[in-house]
Structures are given as structure tokens and as C-alpha cells.
């Protein structure tokens, strides 16, 4: 067994205090693990909790119960209830997250946005710049745009900048939330290549793809997450 991430009985609920304290149980008792070089694809209808699962694994959403263990620099680290400093270190070194949305920071140039994950790991500026240039070139972002802040770019360009940023460094465990959505065929192919390169380099991937072609190009295993049916959904008034 060469697992890089192990999830046991993970659950996630949302309590909406502003809406009469409704409790939504989105994830219940999920257990799975992913090995090095393997890609697990999450399956389920819209609303089944696929994105919620990725965000919970990343610590962006607070798990309600269960365990998320990640192999972080030769040691197992528990992320549920982990100290913020520890979670941030895992995010810097081990756990990557790529969505289709770029969070734009005013005034920061595209090249700097892409280089950031490498600089955060202590890479030299030149090495980071070389890698960022290579990725932006592969993802067909014209060089004339590299020194501009991506705030004014088209949706597709912003998405590709975000993907370049996501693949800037090697992540032992990588979470991908529809990275190929709404990309044209040429760029979609590049992203699938990047994903397969990450797999070959030994990353464990957990991904969401709505596009069947993309899914079949990278998936090794599927996790079925059927939508919670309404009869099963519990509405509890907490307030």
C-alpha cells in the first residue's frame, strides 16, 4: 500500500443560522483512500457534494466529523481539527487545489500569480520564472499578457492562468475541481497532459470532471456520490 491520503467516515454539515437554523447534511461517513500515481474521480449529480468534498479535504470547509489523513513529508498528518499553522504547511508542501476560478489580486502580474506557490516553497526567483514561463507557454497565454494583472483577462484565460499556478510545483496530493470545464479542445488536451504527467510523477489525484472524454482520459477509479434524496435529507431547526 502506498496511500498518500486516507479519508475515514468523513461527514460535513452546514448549519444556516440566517435561514432558521436549517441543517444540511451534505457528506456522510465517506471513506476512501488514494495511492500514489492514482486518480480517483468523483461521480454524482450536481448537488451531490463533490465540490464540498474537495473543499473539506482542503480545509476550506470545516469537517463535521471523521478523519482526513495526508502523508506529509514522510509523516501522517491529521487535518480534521488540525492547527491552522499545520494545515497551511500541508497546503504549502503537500496538498494542492486547482479549481476553474482564479482569485485575482489587484496589481499582481500574471507571471507573479503563477510563480507564487514555488516562491512560497522557497524556490529561487529565476527557477520559478523559468517554470512559470514554460507553463504559460504550454497553456497558450500570449507572452504580451504575462506582465499584466489577470483581472481584465477573459474567463478562459483566467482559468488557464489558474491552472498554470496549480501545476507550478509538484503536489503529492492534488484536488482538481473541473479543471477542464469550458476550455477549448487544444487547451483541454494540454491540461489532460499536465494531469497525466502529475500522475506519472507519483501524485495522488482526486478530481471532478463533467466532461466524459476528460474523465476517461485520466480516471483510474470512481467514487460514487449519489445526491442525498429529499426523504433522506434532514431539516433540523437548530435555532
Amino acid at each position: 500500500m502506498n496511500n498518500l491520503i486516507e479519508v475515514t467516515e468523513l461527514s460535513k454539515t452546514f448549519t444556516l443560522h440566517q435561514q432558521h437554523g436549517i441543517v444540511l447534511k451534505v457528506l456522510r461517513n465517506l471513506s476512501f483512500s488514494v495511492e500514489a500515481g492514482e486518480c480517483l474521480v468523483l461521480m454524482g449529480n450536481s448537488g451531490a457534494g463533490k465540490s464540498t468534498l474537495l473543499r473539506t479535504l482542503y480545509g476550506n470547509y470545516l469537517a463535521a466529523g471523521g478523519s482526513i489523513r495526508v502523508r506529509h513529508q514522510q509523516q501522517w498528518v491529521e487535518l480534521v481539527g488540525g492547527a491552522p499553522l499545520q494545515v497551511l504547511d500541508v497546503r504549502r508542501q503537500t496538498l494542492g487545489y486547482v479549481s476553474q476560478f482564479l482569485r485575482v489580486i489587484p496589481r499582481v502580474a500574471t507571471l507573479d500569480v503563477v510563480m507564487e506557490p514555488a516562491l512560497a516553497r522557497g524556490w529561487g526567483k529565476e527557477a520559478a520564472k523559468a517554470r512559470a514561463s514554460e507553463l504559460l507557454t504550454r497553456l497558450n497565454i500570449p507572452q504580451t499578457l504575462w506582465q499584466l494583472a489577470p483581472g481584465t483577462f477573459s474567463g478562459g484565460e483566467q482559468q488557464r492562468v489558474n491552472i498554470a499556478r496549480g501545476f507550478m510545483v509538484d503536489w503529492p496530493v492534488m484536488l482538481l475541481d473541473e479543471p477542464t470545464a469550458s476550455l477549448d479542445e487544444r487547451n483541454q488536451r494540454v491540461v489532460l497532459e499536465l494531469i497525466n504527467e502529475a500522475k506519472a510523477a507519483g501524485s495522488a489525484l482526486i478530481a471532478i470532471f463533467h466532461d466524459r472524454h476528460a474523465r476517461e482520459a485520466v480516471a483510474d477509479r470512481y467514487l460514487d456520490m449519489q445526491a442525498p434524496c429529499t426523504a433522506d435529507q434532514e431539516f433540523v431547526y437548530a435555532g
Partner: protein, 269 residues
């Protein structure tokens, strides 16, 4: 890989730079702040958010040792490795700390600058307090820091009152950073600035925090500012910390009813 392993070891061996234990100061029932505890580590940026009157500024004054608490302790790990009990030390010691290893960026730059002396003298003051007497060295530091905060170095002999609000705020930051502090307190540093100036200042702060490895405690009511700068947040309401955790988790999945209200009340431009 070796570098990464080293970082992890450092993390494991890390001691808090600043440790706050059950600090309270009340001006009336639930007015002020009470029972606040947290640890701050080197290089970490902690944001304190909450509405006006929730006790943010009172807490910041207590943390910086500008006023004394009704109860509670703060210990600070000095550069020489000694642990300092903040409230047990003398006022002179606390002032020295604020001028050397710490910094305080006021919301209104007029409170943090000396308006009657030049920009260069404002920057040089802390260095002089640390014993630097060489004119060339002081002037060199002035020019270098004006450049770093994106103020034209030719303005070095001008009085701060001839500067715009955004420039004054950047000058205040330079004045604080020149002595290489390890811990900076900031009270709404982008408060009265218009958005374009604010973006520029935030960008500057982000860069400086990373390059200098500063620990920062920043009070703000602007959640976007908090998201951009802070690793971790404390949410305050009616003098108490109601929620704390990773910044993005607090903002994207707030747990406490008040935090949910706060986050859902933000206008999207």
C-alpha cells in the same frame, strides 16, 4: 526535498513568538474585550475582524502593551531568546519594545508620524533610537525605504503634511519597518484610503510580510483585506472572540451565527 524537511523540522520546533492568555479589559458589561487567548508564531499574520464597538481596537491596545488589562498575561519571545512577561515589565521596557522589536501602524497616519519633521527624519528616528548616528547611513536608509514603499526619494526632505493620505500611510509603514521589527500591529491600515490606493498598499504589505518574515496582528473590518493578508482570523463580537481559524475557512464556511451574518452582509462590487 532537504529544504522542505528542514522547514518541517523548524515548524515542529517552533515556539510561539507571542502568547496571549485570557486577557480581559472591560469598560462596562461586554464593552471592551474579555477572555482572549491565542498564540502567534513567527511570520504569521493574524487578522482581527468584527463590527465597530466589538472590542477590536481595545484588544490591539492591550496586545501592544499600550494599556493594561484587568486580568490575563502576555508573554513575548525576545530576539535574544528571553521570554518577556509584557504586563510585568516596566512602562519604559514596553516603550523600548514598541520602538525596536515591534511596530505599530495607526489607522490615521497623523497619529503615527511626526508631522513637524521631514520624511527622512521620520524614517531615521527609530534607527537613531537604536544608536545609529552616521548621517550618510541614516540618509541611505531613508532613501532606500522611500523607494521600497514607492515614494519618490526626492521627497525625502519634504514634510509629511505635504503628502497625500496614501503616501502618508506608506511613510508610516516605512518608519515602522526600518528597524527590522519582528512583530507589527496594524489598526485598519487601509481605513481612510480610496480603493486604488488601498490595492497598492495591500500589495506592498503582502510583499513585505513575505520578504521580511514579519509576524503581524492586523485589525480590520474589511473582510477582503483580511482574506488578502491574514493566515488566520479572530472574529469578535460584543467583547468576545466568537470564532477563530484559517482565514479562508472562516470566510467560506463560517460556523458562528454572527460570522455567517457578517460574511453574508458583504456587498459584491
Amino acid at each position: 526535498m532537504t529544504a522542505a524537511v528542514r522547514v518541517n523540522r523548524e515548524l515542529a520546533a517552533l515556539e510561539p513568538l507571542f502568547s496571549v492568555n485570557n486577557v480581559s479589559k472591560l469598560y462596562g458589561p461586554d464593552k471592551g474585550c474579555q477572555q482572549v487567548s491565542f498564540d502567534l508564531y513567527p511570520g504569521e499574520v493574524l487578522g482581527i475582524v468584527g463590527e465597530s464597538g466589538s472590542g477590536k481596537s481595545t484588544l490591539l491596545s492591550l496586545l501592544a502593551g499600550r494599556c493594561l488589562p484587568d486580568e490575563g498575561q502576555i508573554s513575548y519571545l525576545r530576539e535574544d531568546g528571553q521570554l518577556l512577561d509584557l504586563y510585568a515589565s516596566s512602562e519604559a521596557q514596553r516603550r523600548t519594545l514598541l520602538r525596536t522589536e515591534w511596530g505599530f501602524v495607526e489607522q490615521n497616519p497623523r497619529d503615527g508620524l511626526r508631522m513637524g519633521v521631514s520624511a527622512g527624519a521620520n524614517i531615521g528616528e527609530r534607527l537613531m533610537a537604536q544608536g545609529v548616528r552616521n548621517y550618510g547611513e541614516l540618509r541611505g536608509a531613508g532613501i532606500s525605504w522611500l523607494k521600497q514603499v514607492e515614494i519618490d526619494p526626492q521627497r525625502i526632505d519634504d514634510l509629511p503634511r505635504t503628502f497625500s493620505g496614501g503616501m502618508q500611510q506608506r511613510l508610516q509603514i516605512a518608519r515602522n519597518l526600518v528597524s527590522s521589527p519582528r512583530l507589527i500591529f496594524m489598526d485598519e491600515p487601509t481605513g481612510g484610503l480610496d480603493v486604488s490606493v488601498q490595492a497598492r498598499l495591500l500589495d506592498l504589505l503582502r510583499g513585505l510580510v513575505r520578504e521580511l518574515g514579519l509576524a503581524v496582528v492586523i485589525v480590520t473590518h474589511d473582510l477582503a483585506v483580511a482574506r488578502l493578508l491574514a493566515d488566520r482570523l479572530l472574529v469578535m463580537r460584543n467583547s468576545r472572540v466568537v470564532e477563530s481559524g484559517l482565514t479562508d475557512q472562516i470566510l467560506d464556511d463560517p460556523q458562528h451565527p454572527y460570522t455567517q451574518l457578517l460574511v453574508s452582509s458583504v456587498l459584491q462590487p
